[in-house]
Symmetry: C2
Subunit: 166 residues, 2 copies
């Protein structure tokens, strides 16, 4: 099935019954080393996470804040693909660099006024293709309104945490 | 070097010069298939992302919103490790399940009142060890104040996006 057919079919199904839009994603993970974490996503894929030696790990894999940036960058370019297809905007290639600035005084609790997470994130996209810059700007606006992980970064998401002891 | 020595040394360095806390993380990624994305993090690790067939992909890897949950779960358990060490709280094992609910009407633009990202995220942690439940509750409070990716989910992060055409 073409991506156009998938998009049209999904939009029809969502318009017919809003309940079709309700989906859940999940991941299960375990600390297996000093900072090494092994896990499996609901899609069945294994995901390994670790920290560099400067943070006590062995650099067995990318760390959590790198994965967060990778989630954002990949969500951006996939949303470009889906919305370009939906809007009939052609492109030849798209790539992205994502960079985030963090102040470790937050994570280590050295200064309670410093947030532990990213203070700023920069996304640089490179797109090539036959359309006018104005059409790509139109695409960019559509993507930035509909990109799930950009929404996660840019807005507050309610997180409910349950700690089970024993 | 033990994790205790790393934490103490890092805190000393951060207290001596706030500039030592300023770090950046990055990732570079490219769309290589319909929705398949290949990338490399600053730490040198490759990260592959894809969507399932229902979203036009080939399920070559976990998708962006699964990676976002994996970033949160791994950041939680690593922050448990670091803060347990710092506070002198012992534990034997820690694992986590992270689940997020999303309404696809947001991503597909079927209803502009629906956000494209997660509407709610649930984190369930399982910890075992020799300490009292009150000590683990103290640890949980410290973790939730200092976990970088929990901060990213729970609060707004400024994202600057630059689209380069051609």
């Amino acid at each position: 099935m073409t991506l156009t057919a998938i998009i049209d079919g999904t939009r029809d199904a969502l318009q017919a019954d809003a309940g079709n839009g309700k989906v859940s994603f999940n991941v299960s993970q375990e600390l297996v080393g000093v900072t090494e974490v092994h896990g499996t996503a609901g899609s069945g894929h294994r995901i390994v996470v670790d920290e560099p030696p400067a943070l006590g790990g062995t650099n067995a894999a990318a760390n959590p804040v790198e994965y967060a940036l990778a989630a954002l960058g990949s969500c951006q370019v996939i949303t470009y693909r889906v919305w370009a297809t939906h809007l009939g905007i052609k492109f030849d290639s798209i790539s992205v660099e994502v960079e985030g600035d963090l102040d470790l005084r937050g994570f280590f609790g050295v200064d309670p006024t410093i947030r532990p997470g990213y203070e700023q994130v920069r996304v640089t996209l490179h797109i090539t293709g036959p359309e006018t810059p104005a059409r790509y700007e139109e695409l960019r606006r559509a993507v930035d309104e509909h990109c799930p992980v950009l929404d996660l970064f840019s807005n507050q998401t309610p997180v409910k945490i349950d700690l089970k002891v024993g």
